[in-house]
Symmetry: D2
Subunit: 129 residues, 4 copies
């Protein structure tokens, strides 16, 4: 499957005392990238939730390579290296002006409203493969 | 009604590029102070929501007097100067080591799950007055 | 002075337990709108800080009219109704699909690195008027 | 080295549309736990920064086991399983009422103000071992 790219401008709110982006905020960018990746495939995550499907996060990690600063434009390149019956894995590569700033990944499980794992909806599987 | 005091330690996550707390994060502290104020009166806000009552924010403001920094202990003094049929107003005074750092207020409306205003639940009114 | 418009997509991270955007996060959107307003006038706020000028927030407020939800596109219309020697005021009108969701304002003081008020830099005043 | 425990109350701000804590916010709790762990050893992280030592995050990860909700009290158990010349690793176990909700870890490098790795300050090493 092809990778997907999203760009976002770093907000003042996302920086910290060290003058760089707070490490926890990279996970928000992963979320933005996932949402836009899905949108590019015709999948609106909000609509999935409206139909009772939730993409719970099971695991997430980030390796920080080089600092990111206020007002930088970040490019997030996402891919989905793994698709299982009810889960999938995203990988992220973040860069600023071609300089790699971080890599990360997250594993997600499809659940129903009460949090129980369910099979990936057919239209999602179809769009992803 | 007597005022109520809560203390909290400033988190690194709450600071920004300027080396002080990001202005929007004061509103999170207001929320912590409201929750603890209610708890001190025997009102658990989580239980109110479980019963279908929500305290929607209608307005909020903050005046910043002096910067607050990472690891400072903030004291938030809250009071409720106004109680109406379905709404109430909180006022906040924030200080660090006796130095006033900010004042603020917020107005809240009791609503049901669908966001429609309802009368303040009887036990809340009783606890507040 | 003409008003300025920015748009942003609501992030999952910005929502809360009530299924709407957390009230404190509107202030982050105000920040994004200010930064983009300045950029549209050729003023890069990051460069101002690099030259030793900071725009400290002195006061901020928001009135919430109608809920905003995950994945909504928010339009923030900003204007600067007041310019003084060392301070200025922003006003914001936020809407989703033409529906007004909030209004707000913020007052900012130009300071040096140590937080002492200074006169507004000449190029900022020129660009703003 | 003995482990350390901190407790914190989940804030409304930390929850999201799914009615649980947003996955990125666990990393803020890791930060709180690190700071308090250091404090318990007589190490004030703020003072380290004042002396020119920074603990840059090199990597962080979290595995989510069971949802955490608004107003829950979270216990974060931290340990430092690895200490090197200029870096260290933290591990975290998070629970609510004895139920494991997440595990995580983070790797940190000591740097100077400009972000270059330096040897761990002597008093830190001494306190940690």
């Amino acid at each position: 499957m092809r990778a997907h790219e999203t760009s976002l401008r770093i907000r003042y709110q996302e920086t910290d005392n060290m003058g760089v982006v707070y490490y926890g905020n990279y996970f928000t960018w992963f979320e933005v990238a996932r949402t836009e990746y899905f949108r590019s495939l015709g999948l609106i995550y909000r609509d999935l939730e409206a139909k009772g499907f939730y993409l719970m996060v099971a695991a997430a990690s980030c390796r920080y390579k080089s600092p990111a600063k206020y007002d930088d434009m970040v490019t997030v390149k996402s891919s989905i290296p793994e698709i299982k019956n009810s889960s999938l894995k995203f990988e992220y590569k973040l860069s600023v002006d071609g300089r790699l700033i971080a890599t990360g990944d997250s594993v997600h499980v499809f659940t129903n409203r009460s949090g129980h794992p369910v099979r990936m909806p057919g239209d999602v599987r179809k769009a992803l493969t």
